[in-house]
């Protein structure tokens, strides 16, 4: 038995197809599906960093400390449990501890015959947390030379906050680096040693006077071997794209974050919510469109009921008849999906530039394409299911 598409059968079944209803469904569905796909592609872009560099949304470092209340003589510090729990957070990539000096430091410089001396402190973090890696960044106890990295903020503060009002000269990083410094270190047992030192680099990331970890471990063991302190500050490498839970975690744990680093995570979260809202609207519009088509199918099959009954009396099965309507909804839904996908891809150009400027965008279009295909399959399946149900109902009366 042949089951090919027959022109004369299609002539019968296409009667009563309302072009207006079909176009109404198509238009509503193109709009609905476009909105869904725009939401998906925007979500992808807003969660996708387009650069490996240290920019607004890519991986980033934050310095954390515990909140100090009132006046505390007991140092507020992170316990091992605190650090372990923190390291398990999804947005944490790497945790580094600040090691504070357990000895007294006095630094002095000699400028034009005049000496300048002040008490200082040192801190160190593991080398891979630095944003600068100077050539001299190492310590050898025999050479008695301590390389120092200063916060860039200190120099900026001096040049623009202190030097200008005081009528002092502004100085560059190179000039500072050329100044020899003498460090006098006094240990817990009042033992004192003198070291040469120099500023070998400036860090934008670390707001401290940093020395190599090698030196710090050696010096703490040498000048104050008995005392051991928990880390009072931590430097954490974070994944901004996964940082939506960071703020609430830090708040709950009473941890403070240095600077204004929360904003990127908040914007990322905001964009995520926006794309969710957009996609939800698309789903509502598409559901309404689907409702229109389902009603149209009911109406069409009811209008063609007598014709379908006569075909069934001639031996046509519901499956054979449904093929003609299946082809119609498949073609309509395919055209709708192609149009909506094209619209979504074109709309991407509207935000691509802006997102790129803040380090986002450039996400793969594959999730959107898969969603479009899934939509096509699901909606067409649902349409076919409705058609078969209706035809089965007509069969019972034929």
């Amino acid at each position: 038995m042949k089951h090919n598409f027959r022109y004369e059968v299609w002539c019968l079944l296409r009667r009563n197809i309302s072009l207006g209803q079909l176009l109404g469904y198509a238009l509503a569905n193109v709009i609905g599906l476009s909105v869904i796909l725009i939401g998906i592609i925007f979500f992808g872009d807003s969660q996708h960093s387009n650069s490996d560099d240290d920019n607004f949304f890519s991986e980033d470092y934050v310095v954390l400390s515990k909140k100090v209340d009132g006046i505390g003589f007991r140092p507020v510090a992170f316990s091992e449990d605190d650090i372990e729990r923190l390291a398990r957070q999804p947005w944490v990539q790497k945790v580094g501890r600040f090691t504070a000096s357990r000895f007294a430091v006095n630094g002095s410089v000699s400028m034009g015959g005049r000496g300048l001396s002040t008490y200082l402190f040192f801190e160190s973090v593991p080398d891979d947390f630095f944003d600068v890696t100077p050539r001299e960044w190492s310590f050898n106890p025999e050479e008695k030379f301590i390389p120092v990295i200063l916060s860039k903020d200190y120099l900026t503060l001096y040049n623009f906050g202190f030097a200008i009002p005081q009528g002092l000269p502004q100085i560059s990083e190179e000039v500072i680096g050329a100044v020899p410094i003498v460090m006098r270190i006094t240990g817990a047992d009042n033992r004192t040693d003198v070291y040469d030192a120099a500023v070998v680099g400036f860090s934008s990331r670390l707001n401290t006077i940093a020395v190599p970890q090698d030196f710090m471990d050696w010096a703490n063991a040498r000048y104050n071997p008995g005392e051991r302190r928990d880390a009072s500050r931590l430097i954490v490498k974070i994944d901004r794209m996964a940082a939506s839970g960071m703020d609430s975690y830090l708040k709950d744990e009473g941890i403070e974050i240095a600077g204004d680093k929360e904003s990127a995570g908040n914007i990322s979260e905001f964009l995520r919510v926006v794309s969710g809202v957009v996609a939800s609207n698309g789903v509502v519009i598409s559901l309404l469109a689907l409702f229109i088509l389902t009603l149209s199918i009911f109406l069409l099959l009811q209008k063609n009921k007598e014709t379908i009954r006569k075909l069934m009396l001639q031996g046509f099965s519901p499956g054979e008849i449904s093929r003609y309507y299946d082809a119609m909804v498949l073609i309509a839904n395919t055209v709708i999906t192609i149009m909506a996908t094209t619209i979504a891809v074109c709309c991407r150009a509207l935000w691509d530039g802006q997102l790129h400027a803040i380090g986002l965008g450039g996400a793969s279009v594959l999730p959107m394409l898969w969603s479009a295909v899934a939509y096509l399959v699901l909606v067409t399946w649902f349409n076919m299911y409705v058609i078969r149900r209706q035809l089965a109902g007509i069969w019972k009366g034929a």
């Binding site: 027959r6 059968v9 002539c11 009396l313 001639q314 054979e320």
Partner: protein, 219 residues
């Protein structure tokens, strides 16, 4: 298919009327067993409202509002699924309903080809020959909706023989045909049924199909 057996068949609408003259005088309704055999020729006649159309529709599976049972080669047709029925309607039983079941929006030829293209039973020239024999060859491209009832009956009869069958049921097939056309269509149907060894069962209210050697059954 060799036999169609009907046991204690009664339309639902006649339920409770088993003891009335209408049912008692019937050779089919309420009978313990009545058999249509392949190759039979029967004319079932009755007045209007006695259930002629109901009977053929019950057998064709297009109505199920009856008591009793109908068996095709011993199998109860109530157990048949959609695919089985479609197969039966395409290969085993041909049926010409009283309303003819034609599509007025299609031409004469399209109506016939709608079935013949599925079965591939007749060639185009055979169809044309039959149209010529019943005198409507020149109407082949006319819309069926524009034909007279008599012309429609001839189109429906030709379409009914465009398939293989073991039984052909014709519900008042010549009610709008004159004696001459009656004889012509009876000849076409008889030839086709004979060539297939099939049974022919026609109903009528008086103007019955002019079949030779037909057995008359009173419903």
């Amino acid at each position: 298919m060799e036999t169609i057996t009907i046991n204690n068949l009664l339309p639902m609408v006649f339920a409770g009327m088993e003891d009335t003259d209408k049912i008692c005088s019937s050779q089919i309704w309420g009978e313990q067993s009545f058999v249509f055999r392949r190759g039979c020729r029967m004319c079932i006649h009755a007045e209007s409202g006695c259930g002629k159309s109901s009977l053929v529709n019950f057998i064709y599976g297009s109505r199920r509002d009856y008591k009793g049972e109908i068996l095709f080669d011993g199998k109860d047709i109530r157990s048949f699924g959609i695919e089985r029925w479609c197969d039966i309607r395409t290969r085993s039983i041909s049926f010409l309903p009283q309303d003819m079941g034609l599509f007025p929006e299609l031409t004469v030829m399209q109506n016939i080809e709608l079935k013949n293209n599925r079965t591939g039973h007749k060639s185009r020239s055979q169809i044309m020959t039959m149209l010529e024999r019943v005198g409507i060859a020149e109407k082949r491209d006319a819309l069926v909706g524009k034909l007279s009832i008599g012309q429609m009956q001839r189109v429906a009869l030709i379409r009914a023989v465009c398939q293989p069958f073991d039984f052909i049921f014709l519900d008042e097939p010549v009610s709008h045909l004159d004696a001459n056309n009656n004889r012509v269509v009876a000849g076409i149907i008889s030839e086709e049924a004979d060539s297939q060894g099939a049974g022919m069962i026609a109903t009528s209210v008086g103007n019955h199909l002019l079949l030779d050697n037909a057995q008359f059954i009173s419903l």
